[in-house]
């Protein structure tokens, strides 16, 4: 066992999750792979969405995977950073929109 919770080389072993539940693992990977094919959105657009979400859910494996995926697709660092900001905007917005609740409560409790 490693002394850290995250081991970069564990990403290579992602596929091994099917070993302990083949049916569900296979269903997940079939679904996962279908999602990232060309569709109404291009595979390139979906790669950028995945990169933004990777940051929002703070998954280091996903960040490694979708930075590499973006490089393979020729996505520029400017595009990658903008995508991360889009994710960050929603995440910080989600925090800040709750401040309306704080303001409401403040007003209700105050004379």
């Amino acid at each position: 066992m490693s002394n850290t919770y995250y081991e970069p080389s564990d990403l290579r072993k992602f596929g091994n999750i099917t070993e302990w539940n083949e049916e569900l693992g296979k269903k997940f990977f079939d679904y996962y792979n279908s999602i990232f094919e060309e569709g109404a959105l291009s595979a390139r657009e979906k790669s950028l969405i995945a990169l933004a979400v990777s940051h929002v859910v703070k998954c280091p494996y996903c960040i490694d995977a979708y930075t590499q995926d973006g490089l393979k697709r020729g996505i520029t660092k400017e595009e990658m950073m903008e995508a991360v900001h889009a994710g960050a905007a929603i995440e910080s917005g989600a925090t800040l929109v709750h401040s309306v609740q704080m303001m409401n409560k403040y007003k209700k409790l105050s004379m």
């Binding site: 290579r12 595979a43 390139r44 490089l71 393979k72 697709r73 020729g74 520029t76």
Partner: protein
């Protein structure tokens, strides 16, 4: 960025034997990853043997005006290996005998060989269908004596294939050197002006895409669409096809992989992306590589690893098609680079 070759710096990776050791040690020696040979065996594709010869790829010298970070030739201004006219005559004789349909001239910068223009002129007379010159583009703008290369290429209907790792300046210059992107765009415009790369033009101009880092190339068709859009919109530059080529872990790219601690991950990516269908079309099955001094190799990469063809005929002067066609192709772990994903060759993907 280094401005000297590994050889000039006396770097241990200038030594072919050392490179082959690295490629056989570590993760391959402890069987964490299968060797290329065992991978082929599990697919019943070992040994790898040639099909009829179609392409003669001739490396006419390692001298180059650039020192690209990923160069598998370790080319640069300090390399003095240059093919002589005598060896070129031997190559022409072989072309006449064998009826190969494609002559693929590479380097270094092939244009820097003093006999380059003579050789191209002679080659047009011996009946090959396609004469490829792998031009790094910047050579065209590097010196006044090269400014007329687009006209020269046009006169001899040369097929120009040029490298361009990205449509942005920073990524291109990081791989190929400061100022290379702008000089390349200028050279592409000069080629476009004489008719190269224009839609429906018979003057073929193709681009080669090599990833500028420790990752595999993405989908060739998607990259071509993106390159065409960006180069046309931003620079009014046109080309025909984009060939996406995987960087093989040898020479300067191997040096980079090790120094950046990407070597193991990169080898894992190559092995994981192994595609049995690509094995059937790897370029060593229809191409022979000739070095500046006339030795024969299964491919340009094996040339740099000094793995001469495994045959009683090893030099262009002794060329014998039938003997060579019975040989077994020399392999090592770098070969995974040609079988990853959609496969890779000097003509791009192979599946």
């Amino acid at each position: 960025m280094q401005l000297k070759s590994l050889k000039n710096r006396e770097n241990e990776l200038a030594n072919a034997k050392r490179q082959l050791e690295i490629l056989s040690n570590g993760i391959f020696q402890n069987e964490e990853l299968p060797t290329f040979r065992s991978k082929l065996k599990t697919q019943n594709k070992f040994p790898l043997q040639p099909k009829p010869l179609e392409i003669l790829q001739i490396n006419i010298g390692y001298m180059c005006n650039q020192v690209c970070a990923h160069c598998h030739v370790d080319a640069g201004p300090d390399r003095k290996e240059i093919m002589t006219r005598e060896t070129m005559l031997q190559c022409l004789e072989v072309i006449k005998q064998t009826g190969v349909h494609t002559l693929d001239l590479t380097g270094g910068a092939p244009e820097m060989n003093p006999h380059f223009r003579w050789f191209v002129e002679q080659a047009t007379k011996v009946g090959v269908n396609d004469i490829i010159v792998r031009s790094n583009l910047t050579i065209i703008t590097a010196n006044k004596k090269y400014h007329d290369l687009p006209e020269f290429f046009k006169t001899h209907n040369v097929h120009v294939i040029s490298s361009m790792p990205h449509w942005t300046e920073d990524k291109t210059d990081k791989q190929r050197g400061d100022g290379v992107f702008n000089a390349s765009i200028k050279a592409l415009k000069m080629l476009n002006e004489v008719g190269y790369g224009i839609p429906n033009s018979k003057l073929k101009l193709d681009l080669v895409y090599n990833p500028s880092g420790a990752f595999l190339p993405g989908d060739q068709a998607a990259l071509e669409t993106d390159f065409k859009k960006a180069l046309s919109e931003k620079f009014d530059v046109h080309f025909h096809n984009l060939f996406s080529i995987t960087n093989l872990p040898i020479s300067r790219f191997l040096d980079y992989l090790i120094a950046s601690e990407n070597y193991e991950d990169y080898m894992y990516s190559l092995v994981e992306a192994f595609n049995p269908a690509a094995v059937d079309n790897v370029m060593c099955t229809n191409t022979l590589s000739v070095s500046w001094d006339g030795w024969l190799y299964d491919c340009d990469f094996n040339q740099m690893l000094e793995l001469k063809v495994d045959s009683s005929v090893q030099h262009i002067r002794d060329f014998n098609k039938d003997t060579l066609n019975k040989r077994t192709i020399c392999i090592s772990q770098h070969c995974y680079g040609c079988t990853a994903g959609a496969g890779s060759s000097c003509q791009g993907t192979i599946t």
